[in-house]
Subunit: 140 residues, 6 copies
């Protein structure tokens, strides 16, 4: 991943839709506030020193590393799981990672279709926000 791409994603991480039914945040100040919030929270969680939680975070990271399945396939599975469990933050995160791993829009919409049919119409509000986030990611 190029540095340019990484910094773009870094930027996007804080511009994803930020509330139930809300449009994407666009104010630069809001983005900076969220970036600081996120960084501060990750640091605070680690600093609290709960060994179980810290190990879980490490385990979570290694789950998506390439194995006999490549990283793109694993991220697509993570994306679909996040859609049916209806977690906007998780969807945005896996969307970014799928794009980093080279997933095209058509591939992502096929993943969205699986999530929508398995999870039902209750997934639709999250699909709208996912597509809004997707539009902000670099095209490939």
């Amino acid at each position: 991943m190029s540095r340019w791409f990484a910094s773009r994603l870094d930027y996007r991480l804080v511009t994803r839709p930020s509330g139930v039914g809300m449009p994407p945040t666009s104010s630069h100040d809001d983005l900076e506030a969220f970036r600081h919030f996120r960084e501060k929270m990750n640091t605070a969680i680690q600093a609290a020193g709960n060994l179980t939680i810290n190990r879980f975070f490490a385990l979570d990271a290694r789950t998506y590393e390439p194995g006999v399945l490549d990283a793109k396939t694993k991220e697509l599975m993570g994306l679909t799981a996040s859609m049916v469990l209806r977690c906007d933050d998780c969807i945005t995160y896996h969307l970014i990672r799928c794009r980093e791993e080279g997933a095209t829009n058509d591939e992502l919409f096929e993943a969205f279709a699986v999530g929508l049919v398995v999870g039902g119409s209750i997934v639709i509000p999250h699909l709208r926000r996912a597509v809004a986030a997707l539009e902000e990611l670099p095209r490939i």
Copy 2:
């Protein structure tokens, strides 16, 4: 449904509670921003051309058309299902549709009661936002 009623509902669609634990959005600018966001996303989803997704949207629409059960009963079922699954956007949508089909406040509170008892206290925050949205709908 009168044109006046439809435009009222259209207006309300963007004034529903817009964040976890937040009061209803009231700024006209925010409402317009959300309206544009929603329209843009529906258009973007359709334009992406994924046949499965587009067919699901069509199927979703016809699910609530009157059959041997009338539209009001179907919307009340959709409302209750949305409450126990805890989806604010879905609750608001079905609340609007229930009111369009003539559901009174007392009828809606009986639907809320079913959703609350089936789904438990975890439903309460969504109930608060549902009642806030209800207060903005035209009384009947």
Copy 3:
């Protein structure tokens, strides 16, 4: 409700599909065993004397009593909520109650359709068991 109908329902309560992916239980001995299990458990729960639990059971019962919405509509809402939450026992219970309140097969399938579209394909195994249970209920 006639006594004949009630006893039929009582019989059916123990013949509903009894396992994940399993066909309906048909052995009379199994039915009797389950009936005893269920009665014993309800008695045991009440006898334990936890006031919160006992009040919840009373509240649950009154939730479906007719109000401004009739009992059939409330039971249809309970059925749909049970489908999207994917609870076989709850589905069977509300199916029986819907039939007692006069819901026809066509009406029940329209409720199934709402549950299926809202909840997605994950609901299908429960739909199969619901239809199996429905076939055992008295036709109307």
Copy 4:
């Protein structure tokens, strides 16, 4: 609980993270707006006069009263249940109550660990917001 502590908590009730992925609200005006929203909604729900709903609210309150288990243990159970069901408002509420009952940060992180391992990585965004809320509570 001292009056000072109660008023602090009352203040905090409206400063918890207020949107999906958003940093905690900090503007005093926002806090006041939310406080008014919450009070207004509780009043509106009670005033609607649905007996089932009003009894459920009463039952919910008594569930956490000390019995053979003390209030702190019950609130820790409520906190863990809220984490695995991923309800930010419920997490914040039980976090405040746990602190009122004397739960230390280390105890709360052990509760977070149970919620995280039982519920999986889908809980992480809620954990971040929980820790943000915790930082605003009075230390003990």
Copy 5:
């Protein structure tokens, strides 16, 4: 897919773990009973003639057809989604389809790992039954 393979799968469809916490069914009679139950239910659902339901079944089938993503990737996504939603029947179905599309045991365990970490320890009982079902599928 060879006819031999298809008939093997057909056989397996009724030998998967059949109850919460139960070992796989092994009696030939039980398998036949379940096969008949399943076929009868699918036929009964279609015969009921609810257009929404019948269209949903058709849509469900086409969701996993190869597109820009191949069938194996789509089935792996379906498997992961089924694990985090904890539906044994759905897990078994997608496991069979993954194997038909050539997924090896190592690939399936990497999918299980994503499901387990996203969904948490609550997924473990379903993982046990998934691995039991996997052992009955033809090795590749």
Copy 6:
């Protein structure tokens, strides 16, 4: 924990309610079959050699070890979380562990009450099976 107690629990692990809506299994042969199934599956999962899964199992075990909260409190939290997520196997496991840690029936019913009120009436079928399992555990 005494050896007698451990072997009793070991026995009970396979006598808990074994199907949706079914009474507890009582045949000795069924119990032995399940015990073998469970042991075989745990061994099979570990033997598959997926590092993420094996680490998750280790992390799961250490989550409930005593820390600043004692083991009984942690198991009560695990029990409540399992109830609201409606996992019979998980409920049974934590019920056994709670009893091992000295939880009385009255304490367990207070935990059940929290799970029931948070999770709603959808929890009731699982409560019935939990109470059935509890009756088979050694009294204290």
